[in-house]
């Protein structure tokens, strides 16, 4: 879709204005944007050509945009206008992309519901009584509802791949270091990835092509050459070895999800893939969520120490610098954020580091070691992205200590622990709502990941799937 749009130079203005208008209309129903950006000005100065020439796009609101409000979904940044563009914005602008929205997100990208944004929850375009998932929920909703063909998200635990499942689209988290993080308001630096949503694998190929590459401002970004993903796209599964994530499959409780997944595996076999079941140590799997929380919260509490109301952001009054900082932070953050900062701070205390923060890093290493074992043998690890379709907005039924929750709802964090490429593709529909399947491949092997993703897309026929918002 992106390729066709970029070629259709004659309709650039009309297309972008239409997308913007559609976003304005849908905002009433979905609340999936924090800022809507009138594209008129950008349309005046579009560069010649480019992979995204005249293609309307959306950015998660933790992507810094020069001169455009960037809140990261938090009250403390609700007046923050950056003086610089994130590297991905620079790249997209160079390719001719037109920004029409800064999308809703969970506050500071923490949370998997998109209910914690300071502007309120963003709603699922397939069923507005349901969540989009988070933290990149607004971006997912804007793509799923057909407003834009691509939106940038960020993924620290599964913040792109979970909402992609709930919104019935492709959600890609490439290898750590593949896309520069410069200018992305962080959550947890060692787990943070920049990624994106599209409605087809081809569009995903083009998007990564445009976004990937070394950036000297992000020391963790890779020097590796960026392959031509689209021309290398090959859905042939002959000799491809696929490992089913056994622990996840075992813990599934939703029969329809089980059936959809089993069926898909059969189809992949039919196409020539060798499909086996791979089991990780159950103990490690149950430790995944606590390990994630510790590392993420420890890094987050440090990363967000700059939000003090002194140089930027919402400034609360106080009699001393210390009081200003305390008041700004107390009023500026939501309850969940403050809770996570406390946990993170606790984990970093000198007397706790050994048994908490450092131990979590050791467990992270063990989990990645097992993943390496798996991927030594297999090209891809596969599992449903969730047990079920998107939860209802008022759903409070989840039991955070059940296997279903610990394993099925959190297994995708393995892609963040390892930094390996991981993506969600639509797998099927239930009660008019989508559910996705997740693939994780070897480091920098996005080509294989897209190939298998394309095979799945061919099987399901879920290409350019768009929700009709009621």
């Amino acid at each position: 879709m992106i390729k066709e749009m970029a070629k259709d130079v004659a309709n650039v203005k009309e297309r972008c204005q239409e997308a913007y208008q559609k976003a304005v209309v849908l905002q009433e129903k979905l609340n999936d944007a924090i800022t809507l950006v009138d594209p008129s000005e950008q349309l005046e100065s579009l560069p010649e050509g480019g992979l995204f020439h005249g293609v309307p796009i959306a950015l998660k609101d933790n992507v810094s945009t020069k001169g455009i409000l960037t809140t990261a979904g938090s009250r403390i940044l609700s007046n923050y206008v950056p003086v610089f563009d994130a590297e991905v914005v620079t790249k997209l602008k160079k390719e001719g992309a037109v920004i029409i929205a800064k999308a809703s997100m969970d506050e500071l990208a923490m949370g998997g519901t998109n209910l914690t944004c300071y502007t309120g929850p963003s709603l699922n375009p397939w069923d507005t009584k349901r969540m989009t998932g988070g933290s990149s929920g607004g971006s997912a909703a804007l793509v799923a509802s057909g407003v834009v063909p691509m939106a940038i998200g960020s993924d620290t635990g599964d913040s792109i791949r979970k909402p992609a499942s709930f919104c019935g689209i492709v959600g890609v988290k490439p290898t750590y270091g593949r896309i520069s993080r410069y200018g992305i308001i962080p959550y947890a630096s060692s787990l943070d990835h920049v990624g994106f949503f599209t409605r087809s694998i081809e569009d995903a190929c083009i998007s990564l092509q445009a976004l990937a590459g070394r950036d000297d401002r992000d020391m963790t970004s890779s020097y590796r050459e960026v392959p031509d993903y689209l021309s290398l796209l090959d859905s042939d599964l002959t000799d491809k070895k696929i490992a089913i994530f056994g622990n996840v499959q075992d813990a599934l409780t939703n029969e329809t999800t089980k059936d959809l997944f089993t069926n898909l595996m059969k189809q992949l076999e039919k196409k020539g893939a060798k499909v086996d079941v791979f089991h990780f140590s159950e103990d490690l799997m149950k430790a995944m969520l606590p390990t994630y929380y510790l590392i993420a919260n420890c890094e987050a509490t440090s990363n967000h120490s700059n939000l003090d109301g002194i140089r930027f952001g919402v400034h609360e009054k106080g009699d001393s610098m210390e009081e200003i900082m305390t008041n700004s932070r107390t009023k500026g953050f939501g309850l969940l954020i403050r809770k996570r900062f406390v946990i993170g701070s606790y984990g970093l205390f000198e007397e706790n580091q050994e048994k908490l923060f450092k131990k979590a890093q050791k467990v992270r290493r063990l989990i990645v070691d097992e993943l390496n074992e798996c991927l030594k043998e297999y090209d891809c690890l596969i599992a449903p992205a969730s047990n079920d379709i998107a939860p209802l907005l008022n759903d409070t039924s989840r039991d955070e200590l059940s296997d279903g929750y610990l394993i099925v709802e959190n297994h995708m964090v393995i892609g963040n622990f390892s930094g390996y490429p991981s993506m969600t593709v639509p797998m099927g529909m239930m009660d008019g709502c989508p559910i996705g399947v997740n693939l994780t491949c070897r480091a920098f092997d996005e080509v294989t990941m897209f190939g298998i993703g394309k095979a799945i897309e061919d099987i399901t026929g879920y290409k350019d799937l768009t929700a009709e918002v009621k």
Partner: protein, 419 residues
């Protein structure tokens, strides 16, 4: 009672680099407030650090000059604390893997030569500068992110004289290397002194006090002598010494309590996730080491060998780097080093002091000084005559011309006397 003092010193030195430690913003002193910063120095969300290799190279020079073992794997850590001068809410430093460990420097005091061990040198970034006014605080972020090295000594010093000699020796070494401006009065070199006293012969250390921000080298000695006396008086009176941070007031010559330390602060150090460890190339390090500026002790040796000057003269000359360099300029056209040295240290220095100038601001030309000395040596003029032309010499005039003129004038005067 008699007491013995144990003194350790931490020195922060701003490195003289073109740009900041982790950002591309320029480093400069004395520019208009908040004009030398960018989004990284201001800790804007989403910005990321990028290691300035020029700073790493300068730190390596400092480590080499001070005989430290260099860790070729460069890593950084976060030191987390909230303070209004700290933009990110953490400082990027090297807690766990300092660039250099276990070095030393030789100092000279009235008791002779002594080796002071250096525990570590690590790289870090500077904070913003605060100006506290009566009703508000102003912040200048030009300094934020400036590369620093922190040089941590072992507690090897026992009095103010040794401490002062240590700071002076470090200052001289870093100045010769050219890695820092080392100006204590401008804050490009900052000195924190840790000091404790215990009864003479005691094997346990007393309670440690820290004296911060001493603004000149001579005040290092003064502050320590005051502090030793203050603590001794307390102990003599049977009072307890609290662990305190104090500052030196150079007007009263006293140390003043800033804050009492209630346990140590937990800085929650952890490795900086946005900086990948950098493996330094062995050849790169060697290349830096091979191209370092001459160090004071190397210059001392050379002066002894080349010019045959006395140790005393050499020390004084080298103590003033600019003067020493001027000396070498003069020596390009002079023969007798001893005479040149004497002239520089007596007549020239005297004149400069009297006129409030320095050897770098003076109009004095090195070859002119050489000429004047040659004229004395050749017996063309007397020492007395030479002293008479010092003013002219210092104004940049050629002594030959000046003397010729004077002789001519004299003969004209004599001529006119002849009837």
């Amino acid at each position: 009672m008699e007491y013995q003092a144990t003194i350790g010193i931490e020195i922060h030195c701003e490195l003289k680099t073109n740009t900041k430690m982790f950002s591309g913003a320029p480093c400069s002193f004395g520019r208009k407030a908040n004009t030398c910063t960018n989004e990284i120095d201001l800790g804007q969300p989403g910005t990321m650090p990028c290691v300035n290799m020029e700073a790493v190279a300068k730190a390596i020079e400092a480590c080499t000059a001070l005989h430290l073992t260099i860790d070729p794997l460069v890593k950084f850590d976060r030191k987390n604390y909230y303070y209004s001068d700290l933009p990110k809410g953490f400082q990027i430093t090297q807690q766990f893997h300092p660039i250099g460990r276990d070095g030393y420097i030789m100092i000279h005091t009235s008791e002779g030569e002594k080796k002071i061990r250096i525990n570590r040198i690590h790289m870090e970034e500077d904070t913003a500068k605060q100006f506290h006014l009566t009703s508000k605080t102003l912040l200048d972020y030009n300094r934020a992110g400036t590369p620093l090295i922190e040089i941590v000594s072992e507690p090897d010093m026992k009095n103010g004289e040794e401490a002062q000699a240590y700071v002076e020796a470090l200052r001289q070494t870093l100045l010769y290397l050219g890695v820092s401006d080392v100006k204590m009065e401008e804050g490009s070199m900052r000195c924190d002194v840790n000091i404790s006293i215990a009864p003479k012969g005691s094997s346990t250390l007393g309670t440690k006090n820290e004296i911060k921000n001493i603004n000149s080298i001579s005040n290092v000695g003064k502050a320590i002598e005051y502090e030793i006396k203050r603590q001794a008086d307390l102990l003599d009176r049977g009072e307890e010494i609290h662990q305190e941070t104090r500052r030196y007031d150079d007007k009263t010559g006293e140390t003043i309590l800033m804050r009492r330390k209630e346990g140590t602060v937990d800085y929650k150090f952890f490795p900086e996730p946005n900086i990948v460890p950098i493996r330094l190339d062995e050849k790169w390090i060697q290349n830096i080491q091979a191209n370092m500026n001459e160090l004071p002790e190397e210059r001392e040796k050379r002066y002894a060998e080349t010019y045959g000057l006395s140790q005393h003269d050499i020390k004084i000359l080298i103590g003033n780097k600019d003067m020493s360099e001027f000396f070498e300029e003069v020596m390009k056209s002079a023969k007798d080093a001893k005479n040149v040295c004497n002239w520089l240290l007596s007549d020239v220095s005297g004149w400069l002091n009297k006129h409030g100038e320095t050897i770098t601001t003076t109009k004095l030309q090195p070859q002119n000084l050489a000429k004047l000395i040659a004229m004395i040596d050749d017996g063309k003029i007397s020492s007395k005559q030479a002293k008479e032309v010092v003013d002219d010499l210092m104004e940049g005039k050629d002594p030959e011309e000046v003397i010729k003129e004077r002789v001519l004038n004299k003969s004209r005067m004599l001529d006119s006397l002849i009837p």
